[in-house]
């Protein structure tokens, strides 16, 4: 599978559209255990990214992702800004100067992104954050690939793991981020960041699935 700069741009554009669509839902989730701004934050950030994309449309994937990450850092604020910003920046380093990449590169980029998030947020799995969506998704992707299933099937397994991870945050006690202030009261609510991470995972899988398997 060949993932090109064009696909990456479509991926980011679709995230922006999906975030706008789900803005109220994400904010609603953040009302329950946070400060009612997660959807607003991401929408502000990805709208800014959307406006920036044309300036890098003909650039390499690293530059596209770096611009995305920097724009998120500069416009989102809050916790999710530095976290998603760092994720895109780390992915951009993994794909620097590239105009296309394959499944292996994808895994490496996702791992770099997750590492960036964990470093920036000083958090682990099980703390009721976006990590609880992303980490199991990457694990599932790697496991599937080690079983040699095709890329699309692997991604679908990964997405199922992402969904399960997102839902796993419901019974969790938050120990990081704003939800941690709630203590026991954080239990029973799905984490907004885990939800936006699942949203992005969905878009990633959709984008890859839309790629013609000609070069497969």
């Amino acid at each position: 599978m060949r993932i090109t700069a064009e696909h990456v741009i479509r991926f980011i554009e679709t995230i922006a559209a999906r975030v706008k669509e789900q803005r109220a839902y994400l904010t609603e989730l953040d009302s329950a255990i946070g400060d009612a701004d997660h959807g607003i934050n991401l929408d502000r950030g990805f709208s800014a990214v959307l406006a920036k994309l044309p300036t890098v449309a003909d650039k390499d994937i690293g530059t596209i992702l770096k611009t995305t990450g920097m724009t998120l850092v500069s416009t989102v604020g809050g916790a999710s800004g530095p976290l998603y910003g760092t994720a895109f920046l780390r992915a951009s380093m993994a794909l620097a100067d590239r105009y296309e990449f394959n499944e292996d590169d994808l895994v490496a980029a996702l791992e770099a992104a997750l590492e960036g998030i964990m470093m920036r947020g000083k958090a682990q799995r099980g703390e009721k954050t976006m990590i609880d969506t992303i980490a199991p998704a990457i694990d599932a992707l790697k496991t599937a690939r080690s079983r040699d299933v095709d890329a699309h099937a692997a991604l679908r397994e990964s997405l199922a793991a992402a969904e399960a991870g997102m839902k796993s945050t419901i019974p969790m006690l938050a120990t990081k981020g704003r939800a941690s202030y709630l203590g026991e009261r954080s239990i029973g609510h799905q984490d907004p960041g885990a939800t936006s991470a699942y949203l992005i995972a969905t878009v990633l899988v959709e984008t890859v699935e839309s790629i013609q398997p000609e070069a497969g």
Binding site: T27, D37, A79, G121, K176
Partner: protein, 333 residues
């Protein structure tokens, strides 16, 4: 959700324009990235003090920029940490050669964004120190969690460190005093009503006509406990005991008592709370030697209050008493 605004998108910018128009002799407002500096910044040879955080807590922080307090403030979107670009630009604008202290409230977003800004500023050769306030006793403290929130102590710290910086103390000393203020101060808050984030368009939480939230923060985040409404005396007792027991404050201690309104509670009620607080502290042998009563660290239109107690020593008292001239806090000149 009824507010005196033009749109959720413009509320922060409109208010900044209003501040710029109202206080040109005290502050200068910069846009894109948004930050407020003290008129005439940087002050040569003086440590620069920078704070920032989400908007919706007015007058904090912008209202505290000026002589004897902050050199700059970075306002984020409502309840959302500002971004590193703002802190970096503000840090550069106020560095008078003696370095800059970042005053950060302990929220994951604020901490991360300030951290990124500090790294960038240091890369540009500016000496940056940071202090993180985490005075909210409603939150259990632990090495394994995000820890306590920074709330009321932040205001007191900004004033006291402002006095220290104005007196010419070097960055290391101002930082030491900042850490001391944070170490000696504790807070807790409660809400009668929720606030509504303008862009969200509705109250962050629903609450009954006979209920209150104890242990709320300043972002409309729910508190630790929902309970039936009680009297000012009982509420004050609940907040003050948690605070007094935590440090702990002891018989013979001198304190600064700060009764803060969350934005929708009128002054008459804050004085009722202060009256109950005086009695409670008296019973414990704790003497209130300084006080601050009013809306200083708010949560939009939330009704409720927070109490902060800060153990005073001579140094903290002296810098608290030092002249200050900002839009929201002024004395001695």
């Amino acid at each position: 959700m009824k507010k005196l605004i033009n749109s959720p998108e413009t509320v922060v910018g409109d208010a900044l324009l209003g501040m710029a128009a109202a206080h040109p002799e005290l502050i200068q407002v910069h846009f894109d990235p948004d930050y407020i500096t003290r008129a005439g910044a940087p002050v040569r040879g003086k440590v620069g003090l920078l704070s920032g955080g989400g908007s919706g807590h007015e007058p904090m922080h912008g209202g505290f920029v000026g002589y004897g307090m902050l050199d700059a403030a970075c306002p984020g979107a409502v309840f959302t940490s500002p971004v590193p670009d703002q802190m970096l630009a503000a840090t550069k604008a106020i560095d008078g050669g003696a370095g800059v202290l970042h005053i950060v409230k302990n929220y994951t977003g604020d901490v991360m964004n300030f951290e990124m800004a500090a790294e960038l500023a240091q890369m540009e050769g500016i000496e940056v120190a940071s202090v993180i306030t985490n005075d909210d006793v409603a939150v259990k403290d632990s090495l394994y969690t995000a820890g306590r929130r920074g709330v009321g102590v932040t205001v007191l710290l900004e004033k006291i460190c402002g006095g220290a910086a104005e007196a010419g103390l070097p960055l290391a000393e101002v930082t030491r005093i900042a850490q001391n203020v944070n170490a000696q101060g504790r807070s807790m808050g409660m809400a009668l009503t929720s606030c509504a984030v303008p862009a969200a368009g509705k109250p962050t939480f629903e609450i009954g006509d006979d209920e209150m939230e104890i242990g709320i923060g300043i972002h409309g985040e729910p508190g630790r406990q929902r309970m039936k409404l009680q009297s000012a005396r009982e509420i004050t007792e609940m907040l003050a005991s948690a605070i007094l027991d935590d440090l702990p404050f002891n018989r013979g201690d001198q304190v600064l008592a700060f009764v803060n309104g969350m934005g929708g509670t009128p002054l008459i009620e804050l004085y009722v709370v202060y009256n109950d607080l005086v009695k409670l502290c008296g019973d414990r042998g704790v003497t209130i030697s300084r006080n601050l009563i009013g809306n200083y660290i708010t949560s939009l239109e939330m009704a409720g209050c927070s109490i902060t107690l800060l153990k005073l020593d001579d140094e903290l008292t002296r810098f608290w008493d030092a002249p200050v001239h900002t839009p929201a806090l002024r004395w001695g000149r």
